[in-house]
Amino acid sequence: MNLSSLSTDDLSQRCADDTTRFHRQQIRDTEHCFELLRRALAEGRNDAFTRVYQIYEPQVLRWVYQHGRFHETGEGAEYYANQALTSFYFALRGEKFSRFETLAQVLTYLKLCVHSAIAQHLRKEQAVHLADLDANHFSESGVSIADNLQAAELWEHICDLLPDDDDQLLARCVFVQALKPAQVAHGHPDRWRTAREVSVALQRIRRHLRKDPLLRDYAGIAAVDPS
C-alpha cells in the first residue's frame, strides 16, 4: 500500500493499532507510525503531530516513571511528558528528521527527550537552591541583581584573579560544578590528597575573591560591608 495516499486519520488509527499490538507483545509493523512521525516532523503538519502526541503520550509517561531521577524532581509526570514531547517537536521538526531511518531510532530520540526534560529541571533546581541560600540577594521579581554580568565574563575575571592552574581548577570545581571538598579530592587526587587540603586551598581562594572590588560590587556588598 502507498502510505502517502492514506489520510492522516487513517494513518493515525493504524499507528495506534500497531502500538497497541506492540504493548501486547505481538509483532508490530512500524511503517505507519514512522510515516505519521515523518508527516508531523519532516512535513511540519500539526494535525499529524497532534496524533503523534496522543498516541505516544502514554509511552512517554511510562518512561518518565522509569527514569532513575524522576522522584527527585517534585513535579508530576505529565509535566515532563509535555516537556519531552515539546522538545522532541522542536528538535526534529524539518530537515533533521531525515537522519532517522527507523521508528526505533526516532523513539530512542523521544526517550532521550524525556531524560533531557528531567535533567534540565534538576539543573534549574540546583540554581534555585543556590538562590535560596541567600534570599536577600534577589529582588521581588526573582531576578538577580547579578544578571547583568554574563557567566563567561565573570569566569574570565575570576581566572584573571586566580592565575594559578590549580586555583582555577578548584574554583571551577566549587563554583561551576558545585562539588564538595571531598568530591574535589576524590576527582583530583593528584592535586589534593584530602578534603582538608581542598578546604585549605579554598580558604586562600576565598580570601582573594572577597577582596576584589568588582566581585563585591557584583554581589551588591561593596556599600554594605566595607571590611
Binding site: G76, E78, A119, Q120, R123, A127, L133, A151, V176, R207
Partner: protein
Amino acid sequence: MTCQMPPPLSDDEISAVLDGSAEDDVLRHIDVCPDCARRVAAARRLEVAIAQRLNRWDCPSPLALGEYHLNMLSERQARAIREHVKGCPRCQAELADLSVFLKNGRHEDAKGVEPSTGKLPRVNLRLPDWLLGKPLVQRPAMALRGTGEEPVIIEAGALTVFLKLEPRAGQPVLLGQLAGDDLGPWVGALVQMWQEGALRATAEVDDLGAFRCEAIALQPFELQIIARDGATIQVPEVHLSE
C-alpha cells in the same frame, strides 16, 4: 559597627562557617556579634552570587549531551563535548544516568506502570519562563469568553494574544495572533489546546505571530503557547463564541 567579642572572626573562620565546619565558639560569636554576622552574610552573598551565575554555565545542554551519546553530532561538535565531559563530573553523571535509562525497558510492556492522572501538565510557577495569561479586561467569570465578533484578548507579560473563532462549514477555525515588541522568540512556537487533560489540537506560530487551527471543536479549552526556548504562555480556560 565593631565586633562585640574581639578579636573579630578571621577570613578563614568565616569560610569555615560557609562550609558548615566552624567550631562551636565561632558559631556562638556570630550569635552575639552583629558585625561579624554581617560579614558572614556578605561572604555568603558573594559566593552565592558567583556560584549561581557560574552553575554549569559552559556545560552542554542535556539534549546535546544525549545527541553526543547517540552519535548524532558532527566530529567537531563531538570532540568539543568529549573534551568537556572529561573534566566535568556533573556531565559524566548525566551521561551515566542516560545510558542506564536508554538501556532499561527496551522491551517493556504496559504492565506495572502508574496510570496517567489525566491532569494537564502543571508547572512549578517559580520558574520564570512561564507566564500565566490574563484577560486584558478583567471579567467576572473565570473563563475568557469571546463576545460575538470581538476577539478574546489575553495579556501575558509583554505579549498580547488575540483569539477568535472564524465560522466555517463543518468546524470553525481558531485564529490567533500574538502582538508585542519582540515576537522573535515566539516565531515557530508550538500552540497546544487541551481539554479534560488531553491534547486536542496543535498549531504553529508563523513569522507574523499568527496561528490557526482547523480542528477546533471544543469549548472551553486550555491554551498553551510554548516557544523554542521553553518560555510558555498558559491560559487556563478559554471559551470563544462563534
